[in-house]
């Protein structure tokens, strides 16, 4: 396992490369809640979503 630490301000640049290696899912706003889905733009990604005890599947 590789652990990568990057500043939050560079996350959009890092994430923009990831789809080359697989499908990218991120927390996005859906209605009044949140869901893990494929973002159409970096601004779709909502990092301040309410965390859950169990990870998304």
């Amino acid at each position: 396992m590789k652990i990568l630490k990057i500043p939050k301000s560079h996350l959009d640049l890092f994430v923009s490369v990831l789809p080359a290696f697989g499908e990218l899912y991120a927390p996005v706003r859906r209605g009044s809640g949140y869901a893990f889905d494929r973002p159409a733009a970096w601004s779709d990604v909502e990092l301040k979503y309410p965390r859950t005890i169990l990870p998304p599947r």
């Binding site: 640049l13 490369v17 733009a41 970096w42």
Partner: protein
């Protein structure tokens, strides 16, 4: 009679769009444009252009990369040649992922400012290669029937 080829420019820089539209029009292309990724994707779905010239840093600095992924997820646009033209490597020196490394699903990356002669040359080459590939695919398809 040869059908006029369509080029779609997706770029928020109006000066760039005006200049490149004139250049491509003078080379015989019909040119459409959109100023952001979402509009560009919608227009691409409707126009089915022969070539897309795509900027990266628009409303958001990685917008073009996301737009490119969405373009490639549309079956009718999967084979459409895309040239990414951007100054991201000059404007964001921390972004060091080489465009030639195979991660960018574009046919070509051109750094801005774009060399007009090279743009015309590469546009013609990519459109011709795409048309040839499409023609071969249709021949294979009809031979298989």
């Amino acid at each position: 009679m040869t059908k006029t080829k369509n080029v779609l420019i997706i770029d928020d820089d109006t000066d760039f769009v005006r200049a490149i539209s004139g250049l491509l029009a003078s080379a015989g292309y019909a040119v459409g444009s959109a100023s952001n990724g979402r509009d560009g994707l919608d227009l691409a779905k409707r126009l089915l252009p022969d070539l897309i010239l795509l900027d990266v840093m628009m409303t958001e600095r990685t917008e073009g990369f996301f737009t490119l992924q969405q373009i490639r997820s549309v079956p009718a646009l999967r084979q459409t040649p895309v040239i990414v033209a951007s100054s991201i490597y000059a404007d964001q020196p921390l972004f060091k992922v080489n465009p030639e490394a195979g991660w960018l699903p574009a046919n070509l990356f051109l750094p801005k400012p774009v060399d007009p002669a090279r743009l015309i040359q590469e546009s013609a080459r990519l459109i011709a290669a795409s048309a040839e590939a499409g023609s071969e695919a249709s021949h294979v398809g009809s031979a298989g029937r």
